[in-house]
């Protein structure tokens, strides 16, 4: 089933705890996805750091990862979340080199995301675990979008949890509720083109399709529209980049999402109740229609 949702503030001076709102929205859709919870956070990043998230299925591997990151660059902040490592590092090299180096440490260690503005955090179970490890509630930036996962196609672990990115590509995170039925076909065609996949999750094909289409010259919005045609199955997904975010619905409108927007914020959720509990208001919501793509600029 899975649930997706989160909040975006139109102004940097919004005076609200974005993380607390995202917490309530994700808690409200916990029953749609009790296996794991993840969020993508947007940071202003005045210091020019690189945000790195690493899946670590090897118990106690966090130390090795942080040591390796500190050799590649300088670790400024880091949290070993016991299964998922979060770090912000001063690093001027290529993202691909960094991901190759970390992925080479151990087969059970894979980089989940790298970003200059986007940071991905994941943990098992509900949002309470995520908050206990990474203090989600203290986040007061402009955007926090997440997913509660009900695993269907791949293992319940950190690696296959969402949000998902295209390997070593910064500035894109996707949260997908649904099932891509032509996934195997798409995956093999992208693999032949040279794309590397980091997970066994069918949703990973979405960020890769977006990156592939944009590399061929499509705008982000065009690429989102292309996914509506090329992906088979049912989906509602949220895609976040460094400067915008979008919600995309399949041609059958099989998965729910509601949106609420006012002068201050845009809030999304799979469930109207969770959205309203999130923003603590009986706000009007609307539901994107079949095959629709909605993009908001940051």
């Amino acid at each position: 089933m899975c649930g997706v949702g989160g909040i975006f503030f139109k102004s940097a001076e919004h005076g609200a705890k974005t993380g607390e709102i995202a917490y309530r929205i994700l808690d409200g859709i916990y029953r749609r996805g009790p296996d794991s919870t993840g969020v993508a956070l947007w940071h202003d990043n005045a210091d020019g750091l690189l945000y790195v998230g690493v899946n670590c299925e090897a118990p106690g591997g966090g130390g090795r990862i942080l040591e390796a990151l500190d050799q590649l660059g300088t670790v400024k902040q880091a949290t070993d979340g016991d299964g998922y490592i979060r770090a912000a590092i001063a690093y001027g090299g290529s993202e691909e080199d960094l991901v190759d180096a970390i992925d080479a440490l151990d087969p059970a260690i894979t980089v989940s995301s790298v970003g200059r503005h986007l940071e991905v955090l994941k943990h098992m179970g509900g949002v309470a675990n995520l908050d206990a490890k990474f203090d989600l509630k203290s986040y007061d930036g402009r955007l926090a979008m997440g997913l509660t996962r009900y695993a269907t196609e791949s293992r319940i672990d950190f690696t296959n949890g969402q949000p998902l990115s295209a390997r070593a590509v910064p500035g894109l995170a996707v949260m997908h509720n649904g099932h891509i039925t032509n996934y195997h076909h798409l995956r093999s065609s992208y693999a032949l083109k040279g794309y590397n996949f980091s997970t066994q999750n069918d949703s990973e094909v979405i960020p890769i399709m977006l990156i592939d289409e944009m590399s061929k010259g499509a705008t982000f919005e065009d690429a989102l529209n292309i996914t509506v045609d090329k992906l088979d199955g049912c989906f509602t997904y949220i895609a976040v980049t460094d400067d915008c975010f979008a919600v995309v619905k399949d041609a059958y409108a099989a998965k729910p999402t509601v949106v609420a927007e006012n002068d201050e914020f845009v809030a999304l959720s799979s469930d109207p109740q969770s959205l309203r509990e999130g923003v603590l208001s009986d706000i009007e919501v609307w539901e994107p229609g079949a095959g629709e793509v909605h993009v908001w600029q940051m």
């Binding site: 041609a251 059958y252 409108a253 729910p256 509601v258 469930d271 109207p272 109740q273 959205l275 309203r276 509990e277 009986d282 009007e284 919501v285 609307w286 539901e287 229609g289 079949a290 095959g291």
Partner: protein, 234 residues
């Protein structure tokens, strides 16, 4: 609780099962009206009520509101989530706001009125009764409907009435793309007046004109010469 005309029920901090049991008990006790507060878009509020009672929802409601009910009348002062009035046997549900996906699915009687817009699949598997959408209706509205009337005052998205067996769709606005097996037919005497009268009863402004749509019965029996149409449907 006999002689109580109106019972006020605050949903805050109450489990859904307790709320539904309280409504059921009120119906058993002959209470005429239950006013439901703090609905906060919660799901399954007012489900499985099989005796006549009038429900007033003060606020937005979640999924399956007035689902599996018989003889219940309800007014929802807000918008409704998926499947409002699911499988209604008899009664009436009036939604003042919008309704999400599958408004009035499989209803076997009674009437569901959405004054705002409806999401995808309004009146899916409609088996009898009326579903009125005051605004626009989403993708595949009236899909596989089997009887009853689906009245859409605004526009309809793709796949309107796809694979419908019987029943009538009354469309006031434009349709993005008609579903398979649907044809426009000539209204019989008095039919349009009955529709307009019904809208007037809910103070819904009727469109300038209505088109009546029905199944063209082309999908009733398989014909291999029409394979393209079948492939399109499936």
């Amino acid at each position: 609780m006999a002689n109580v005309e109106t019972l006020t029920l605050d949903c805050r901090d109450k489990p859904t099962r307790d709320i539904n049991n309280a409504i059921r008990k009120a119906a058993d006790d002959g209470v005429k009206t239950v006013e439901i507060l703090n609905t906060r878009a919660r799901h399954n509020i007012g489900v499985g009520i099989l005796k006549p009672i009038h429900l007033i929802y003060r606020g937005h409601v979640g999924y399956y509101t007035v689902g599996l009910c018989d003889g219940v009348t309800a007014e929802i002062h807000g918008s409704a989530g998926w499947g409002v009035g699911d499988n209604l046997l008899a009664g009436e549900v009036v939604v003042e706001g919008n309704a999400a996906t599958s408004a009035g699915p499989s209803i076997r009687g009674g009437r569901i009125v959405v004054k705002g817009n409806g999401g995808p699949r309004c009146g899916v598997y409609l088996k009898s009764g009326d579903l009125i959408i005051g605004g626009d209706a989403g993708y595949m509205s009236g899909f596989m409907m089997q009887n009853g009337r689906l009245i859409i005052c605004g526009d309809a998205a793709k796949g309107l009435g796809d694979s419908m067996y019987q029943g009538q769709i009354w469309l006031g606005g434009k349709v993005e793309e008609m579903g398979s097996g649907v044809a426009e037919t000539e209204p019989e005497a008095g039919e349009l007046d009955a529709v307009l009268e019904m809208l007037d009863g809910y103070k819904i402004k009727p469109p300038k004109a209505f088109r009546k749509l029905e199944s063209d019965r082309s999908l009733w029996n398989f014909n291999k010469n029409d394979f393209a149409a079948w492939k399109d449907v499936l």
